[in-house]
Subunit: 156 residues, 2 copies
Amino acid sequence: MRILGIDCGTERTGYGIIESDGKRHAAIAFGVFKTNPREPMADRLCVIARGLREIIAQYQPGEAVIEEVFVAKNAQSSLKLAQVRGVAMVMAREAPMDVFEYSPREIKMAVVGFGNAEKNQVQLMVRALLGLEKNPPEDAADALAAAICRATMRRV
Amino acid sequence: MRILGIDCGTERTGYGIIESDGKRHAAIAFGVFKTNPREPMADRLCVIARGLREIIAQYQPGEAVIEEVFVAKNAQSSLKLAQVRGVAMVMAREAPMDVFEYSPREIKMAVVGFGNAEKNQVQLMVRALLGLEKNPPEDAADALAAAICRATMRRV
């Protein structure tokens, strides 16, 4: 099964596609869509929409995973993040793919083994689980972690 | 100029298209996209995306207006609303249309004359300004109000 993880962000949206049988996972592609903070939000969201459409068309994943959003300390940032999330959900669902949501805690639990893991621990574990030569960029690592989480869950 | 106003909501997203020279406004079309709360959010967002794409293709508005979102008492609802908003922005921008954002206060000021107007006052004024025979549905009225606000602003 090929799974797409998406780590939403207004400035940087990470994506990661893995191939997995639930036990062993291989990275197919990963990266980050960057948007320009000086551009209007509508344009930035379109950059993310286009990017996601392109990688979905190219790699044809069967399922998508997106991290749940909670209201953070900075509520206004959470709202911006939620906008990206809505766009990501539509791009994935229109593909059409099944869309799954997990909390940051569930994702860290699945990948690192405890729910309060730090960003760099996630990077290291993602690298180890996928046998990558170096750490993937932070946002891509989070996206790959979401995909690995889903791969693990589907096996249960 | 033909302007599309969008009033985002997870259960009900209102839309209203007006033709305006900045002084006189005429309603071209308005309505509400309803989504089923029992369906997954990704599917509900797709209903809204599809609905917006269809009315944009049919009526070819030149500009879109979307109300700004603020963190409300219920923060989790604000996040859901923001997801819809992100989708609406992409649908409008990809059309391609220019996308404008106004606060609820600005919209009420432009339509009713004061920023704390009640929902039914907005409905009544929208009906009067557009010469409608009866009150438009609440969410459609808010969308039409956003479009009228933009029509008024562009004239300045």
